[in-house]
Symmetry: C2
């Protein structure tokens, strides 16, 4: 049986999976209860190192806090990346509480409230404007606060990219300003005194095909070139988005990061000629944290029902909705799952892992090959680092919130 | 344009939707912020009255707290129904904090922790056992605590019902004990000193076809008859489940409650002959609260993108996931939506209502006919009373929690 690369990245010792070098049964004792999420600091560092050595020097690496806003994790990453992207007032506060300077924080999102915009201007972060109405509000706020708002324009491109988990650019969109409307919005923003730094284009997320990301990045640079003349000054900021996918399923092929690095090297060279002052940003969330985290649960019951074996665990979709295939996925497939205290044993039986909710949706793994697990054993669900706890209905059936630890 | 029955049940005054008799703009001022959930006490009362006059007298009406565990709402309903069903320790606490006596509280769910079982035994509620292991734990706990546990057996029947939103009985299931294993479990439970009251069968949820529910209830009574001989004493509790659906979509036909009432009248008469001591329970969550609640948001932005009009509101899937079609639904369809402060105006334009998250999943209404809405208007999403806030990923993008009010 092949070993999934995400699983293989974690150490094992004495038959136990290790997170941050700590064997799982000991980590459970330290946390004090199951279920919980655990993020591996070493794997986070390794992932950033991989990006640094594969992407060209000079590319700004931004962490999209929405992927995992745990303050300790954001604080740790802030020391490793160049900038942070936020999407709400609490994310903004979390980012400002790190040592990342405000001018290296961006704030994106289609429905920023007037209060959020006010906080962002006061903080001096870069607001990625998503509409002409936002531009007008920022002009007003700048006058009210006596602060010149730093902004970029989020552009909805006239191209689409294929193969993404979610498409967020091209066609009609709630995100950004259509490229054909951009010159008028830029003019209004400049006339209103906004400090317009540049552009942000985000075409889609969770893409495993490098050639598509490469093309999107190329087209985004072209788009910036076509719009740069409408800026009041030089282009100083170009956020190419991210969309780098992670291999959620056993048959997924990991992203060819080298191909992306090669392309970015060329793009950077040509862009640097045209836009010597431009900070070129790659913004990643899931790709940085997704594979570095696990969701750890304990087997509460083991039962047979008409030829099928169920392991009932003490967590469920209320903490890790995506693993049940109920977060926008069209097809339900199993995430990698292992018995974390029996890593040396063969995966010799087929079981279904279900959570503790009263709904058949709460299916964490369907007829998966697993080590023989008994009541009390620890079931680990991998790829829980991004869009796990915060993307799950935590109050469903009113169970206690799980702990989160970074080790 | 037809008026959806759920929408028509709410009063309107001065062009505004009313919740609990309060016009929406005033309610917004009273709550202090948008978005929020509002539940209408008068509609809850009316729904219980409808059930009381349509179902036969003597049928026990139980409220499944999981559908909406807001303490004030559970407290209100506890005065109207006969019993409460809970699924976690917090739901148990909420139920015990009402005036419903412990022997009218049931605790179901496939993954009860040993701590939860202990609390349930100490409280004296009826534990609906989902496995032989749970039976064994309850025997132990009874001995430890010196309390005779009150229990019922949740049975996974050998029939399936069709047409449910979710099937939870028949075939192999994580729920309950297969009927063919039931006699052995009952024997063990009785030998261990458990006070075995009877049975619970729950075949599926969100069913709009009365003839299927009628058949499930008939078969459940037959199943109880076939198993009653394995009980240590007389049958004293028979929970027929619920599964009554509500009309989420414009084309849904509401459930024919009268047909269910007629059938239950016959079943009750025959069951009373065989089981004179049996309390026959219908357990409902969604059907009681689903249509009595609305989710109220405010328009933050209105934008055109390539021929499509978007209203961006200050809430989204983080509060009302089901309305976006991302909670187990196979097809995405629009819930009823209205501009709550323009109820007298015609629905004269087609718009898409999106939330404030950075994801295309956050689509609350897709190309829906709506009153012309401007920034600041109130967008109301109906059918938000059940599985709304608690079934949604509230921390997604770290926005503030919405308020909940019962009026």
């Amino acid at each position: 049986m092949s070993t999934h690369p995400t699983v293989a990245a974690f150490a094992t010792r004495n038959g136990s999976l290790c997170v941050g070098g700590v064997e799982l049964p000991r980590l459970v004792e330290r946390v004090g209860s199951t279920p919980f999420f655990a993020y591996d600091r070493g794997l986070l560092t390794a992932r950033i190192e991989l990006l640094r050595r594969t992407l060209p020097a000079g590319i700004d690496l931004s962490y999209a806090v929405k992927a995992n806003p745990m303050p300790a994790l954001v604080g740790y990453l802030s020391g490793l990346v160049d900038s942070l992207d936020v999407a709400s007032d609490l994310e903004l506060r979390t980012a400002l509480n790190t040592t990342t300077p405000p001018d290296r924080i961006s704030f994106a999102g289609p429905g920023k409230t007037p209060a959020e915009l006010r906080q962002a201007v006061a903080a001096g972060v870069t607001v990625e404007m998503e509409s002409v109405n936002e531009a007008r509000r920022l002009v007003e706020l700048g006058q009210q606060l006596g602060i010149r708002p730093r902004v970029a324009l989020r552009v909805n491109p006239d191209f689409e990219i294929k193969g993404s988990g979610m498409r967020m650019g091209g066609g009609s969109q709630q995100f950004g300003v259509d490229v054909e409307q951009a010159p008028a919005v830029l003019k209004e923003a400049a006339a209103g005194g906004l400090d317009v730094l540049g552009f942000h284009v985000f075409a889609g997320s969770q893409n495993l095909r490098a050639e598509i990301l490469v093309e999107a990045q190329r087209k985004t640079v072209e788009l910036a070139r076509s719009l740069a003349g409408d800026l009041p000054g030089p282009l100083r900021y170009l956020n190419l988005g991210g969309g780098f996918g992670v291999p959620y399923y056993e048959r997924d092929t990991p992203l060819d990061l080298a191909a992306i690095g090669d392309n970015l090297r060329q793009l950077q060279a040509s862009a640097h000629g045209d836009f010597p002052q431009a900070r070129i940003v790659i913004e990643l969330g899931r790709y940085i944290v997704g594979e570095c985290g696990v969701y750890v649960t304990r087997v509460l019951d083991r039962k047979e029902s008409r030829g099928r074996t169920f392991l009932v665990v003490d967590g469920g979709l209320q903490h890790q909705l995506a693993a049940t295939g109920n977060l926008g996925q069209v097809l339900r497939r199993n995430y990698p799952v292992r018995v974390g205290n029996r890593m040396d044993e063969p995966r010799s039986e087929q079981v279904s892992v279900v959570g503790n909710l009263c709904t058949p949706l709460d299916l964490l793994a369907d007829r998966i090959e697993l080590q023989q697990a008994q009541i009390g054993d620890l079931i680990v669900i991998f790829l829980a680092g991004a869009y796990g706890l915060t993307a799950s209905p935590v109050h469903f059936l009113s169970h206690p919130l799980p702990a989160e630890v970074i080790v």
